[in-house]
Amino acid sequence: MHTFAITNTVLISNSLKGKVRCLMFKTTSMSRSKNSGLTAEQILQFSLAEFSSAIEMIQAAKMVEDHKLQKGFIHHALDEYKHTNFFIGLLSKAENKRVVFDPRLIVSANFIKPERFLFEQVSLVHFAAFIATNEANALKIFTSIRDEVKKFDENALNKLDLIITEETEHLMAMEQEKFMSGGDEANFFYDTLLQDEMRHVEFSSRFLKKQPSKGYIKIIRLKSSVATRFRHLWASQQTFRNIIDKTISVFVVLLLLPFRSTIELPSKKNKNLYCNLSARNMI
């Protein structure tokens, strides 16, 4: 059934567009007016960022050959799903009733490009660096919203703290185990990814520094950082882009108006529908 009135999905993706300060994978950076508190749209954005991160991790788990890495990606994805649920729970308490979580939004609001997942686009090292950069952003944001979550729902804050505590303990144990055993390259990445998930940005930097080519690591980290900043800048110019969009639309609609009647297609009647000739055209 085609229902081109995409309604909720479009509604929310449109409402998000003005606020999203990130375009892809685990970039939860957003600007907030100082007195506005946490809005439903912002909570939705967090949930979408976490969910897109989970999807990217699941895809990485399905593509990577190393079994230990695979396991690491799976557990990382599970953490991200857990965070998604946390924000969905918070969203259910938000005032704006029309803002609801819809998994399809991660595509329409450009959080993810399902034709090419991140793991397919970049090397493993790039993947790790990208996560490190964006998890650092996430850490800043989560720290900054802590008080607002508390205002919003005291119980939710406890849950948020509990998630962080549990994961910190879990990852600290993993970290010790890996480093005690010496660890191979794959384990290093696994550790780095998990640390990113835990927002241990310092540790991820330390890990990247241990790579053989320090210059190369510097370059890719810089690249990730610049790319993230550029995406944020691009997304923050949504109002400007909307104006351009609208102008073009008005111009094209004005051009189309005189041809309204010619655009309408004539209807065909009583033809055998199995027609090879007719099947060749899009009308």
Partner: protein, 573 residues
């Protein structure tokens, strides 16, 4: 060896159907690969999988058929909104973007991935794709005879409801209702108003109907969707879907029915919003059933046919389908395909390609396709699960688990063709354990409290406890219909029934299926199992062992039965 591909996409639930030497061999949904439910757009990943798996090339692919006429659809929507350009500016703007990113670019997108010549790309009329998807599942002995196909849709190309007549490889449209007079868009508007996602939450609205009264039905039929004879006319003053993609209902709709409903804060059946939504759901259900019944009766009275099919997105309303069949004369054989929505229309597109290529109809009885476990993911079973028992020893353990109120996930080769879990990718438990069923519904699947769970049973159990349609019994194999419980329905299985004493039953008649054998073993102890889809709410059904693990971990279910044995999840420390 030659192949024909049928493709649906760009609106919701993108899918591909593959025929090899004229035989139906694969059906894949894009969402299985992306893990994003309802994935739309061009099904890139599913196509790439098929290209690798079957070595598809220009030489081996005969035809690729798209499931609609994209230009027709685009111009219909655009010209409609050009009538009120100022009011419909948002929709026009959306349509202009669709011109570049939508289905009009299908051929170029396809040829970037699969290098085939332009003359191998065909376009099937949208409602004909729906009709042919249904014809694929009609019994072989009547499929070539005169058949009537009723399509109830949102909008496809420029049609909303159609009747298509087929006789062997001749087909023509005998009735059509043009956009915007759409039963599907009317239903979606109420879905949207009640706070459910359009193209996703319609089945929730259907489940809600059992709790309401049809207090608005007459008003709707007289004022909003005017029904006269077999035709309908929507009064567009009640709708916004012709003006904006952001909202389906208009301010006039709000002034009559109150503020839009949100289920975020609804907790009990006594909540004011719940009662309002339930009454709307019941009313729209009555309207939908009235319209469908009158058009079907009109069609079968006017045209002689050996059988009918009912398809299109609205045909997913199993309650309406069950009620329709109860009202039709028993000699009329009705087929509702396992996947009546747009996803299944890819099968119809492939069917269309087969007729063009060989002048032969497509037929299948198979309900499970593709989705074979990826060998590269078998290690997950070794590392993330512990083996409880081998296949030849697991029967006793599984029986004990089910009798003891345990919940088990199933993962067998071949994924269900439609949206319903048919025991290959299911979560099952005994229906006579009320607390387990309640736990499965609310704690594990986290479904809204008003939604029912569906039962699966052997044919003789279904005969014993449910009123079944004799001539259309096949539809119960893939849960296309609801059935009403008989008075002798055992109270211990009451958790399998909805509030209106109906259930969307699955009759399992495949003697080779492991769950069939399980039901035979458990006879008189557990006659009915609860069967729900193996996924976390809002996610696609599982596709491989990695999905099995992540979903089980998130759901909190421990046991997994597969062809290679019974496994227990190892939870992360």
């Amino acid at each position: 060896m030659t192949f024909i591909l049928g493709i649906s996409g760009y609106f919701h639930d993108s899918s591909i159907c593959l025929l090899k030497d004229g035989e139906f061999i694969e059906f894949l949904k894009e969402e299985e690969f992306t893990r994003i439910k309802g994935s739309k757009g061009f099904p890139v990943r599913a196509l790439k999988y098929l290209i690798n798996e079957y070595a598809l090339t220009h030489e081996t692919v005969d035809l690729v058929v798209f499931y609609e006429k994209p230009l027709k659809g685009w111009t219909t929507r655009t010209t409609q909104s050009l009538r009120t350009p100022k009011k419909s500016f948002k929709l026009l703007s959306h349509q202009l973007k669709e011109f570049w990113n939508g289905p009009l670019g299908f051929a170029s997108k396809l040829r970037k991935i699969l290098k085939i010549s332009e003359d191998k790309i065909k376009y099937a009329p949208h409602h004909f794709s729906h009709a042919l998807s249904a014809l694929t599942f009609v019994e072989k002995d009547i499929a070539g005879k005169p058949m009537l196909h009723f399509v109830f849709d949102g909008v496809g190309d420029d049609n909303c409801q159609s009747i298509i007549f087929t006789h062997s490889t001749n087909a023509s449209v005998v009735f059509e209702e043009k956009f915007p007079n759409s039963l599907g868009l009317f239903y979606s508007t109420i879905t949207d108003f009640c706070g459910f996602l359009v193209n996703e939450g319609e089945y929730k609205l259907m489940g809600l109907a059992a709790f309401g009264k049809p207090i608005y039905a007459d008003f709707m039929l007289q004022n909003i969707l005017r029904h006269s004879g077999h035709r309908i006319r929507l009064d567009l003053a009640w709708f916004d879907f012709t003006h904006t993609p952001e909202r389906s209902f208009s301010d006039k709709f709000i002034s009559k029915f109150g503020q839009p409903i949100s289920f975020k804060k609804v907790r009990t059946a006594e909540d004011e919003d719940f009662v309002r939504a339930a009454n709307l759901a019941k009313s729209v259900q009555v309207v939908v059933e009235t319209v469908i019944q009158s058009l079907v009766e009109w069609g079968v009275n006017k045209y002689e046919c050996a059988g009918i099919t009912i398809t299109g997105g609205v045909a997913q309303n199993s309650l309406a389908m069950g009620n329709l069949i109860r009202h039709l004369p028993p000699h009329i054989v009705v087929t509702i395909p396992p996947s009546p929505g747009d996803s299944g229309a890819a099968i119809g597109a492939a069917h269309f390609g087969k007729v063009l290529a060989s002048n032969q109809l497509l037929h299948t009885n198979k309900l499970y396709f593709g989705g074979q476990p990826q060998p590269s993911h078998f290690n997950i079973l070794d590392t993330m699960f512990e083996r409880v028992s081998a296949p030849n020893e697991m029967d006793i353990i599984i029986d004990e688990l089910l009798i003891g109120g345990e919940i088990i996930c199933t993962f067998f080769s071949g994924k269900e063709i439609g949206p319903r879990a048919l025991c290959n990718r299911s979560i099952i438990c005994s229906a006579n354990n009320v607390s387990t069923v309640a736990k499965l519904n609310s704690k594990i699947k986290k479904r809204e409290f008003f939604r029912p769970l569906a039962p699966v049973m052997l044919p003789e159990t279904a005969e014993q406890f449910f009123h079944l349609s004799e001539s259309s019994k096949k539809n119960y194999l893939w849960m296309a219909l609801t059935a009403k419980a008989k008075d002798n329905f055992p109270p211990q299985y009451s958790a399998a029934l909805h509030a209106d004493k109906t259930a969307r039953i699955q009759i399992l008649d495949n003697k080779d299926h492991y769950i069939f054998k399980t039901l035979v073993r458990l006879k008189d102890k557990v006659d009915i199992l609860i069967n729900t889809s193996f996924n976390v709410s809002g996610d696609p059904i599982v596709h491989d062992f990695i999905d099995c693990y992540t979903n089980m971990e998130r759901l909190g279910v421990e046991y997994l039965v597969t062809e290679t044995g019974l496994f227990k999840i190892i939870c992360p420390e």
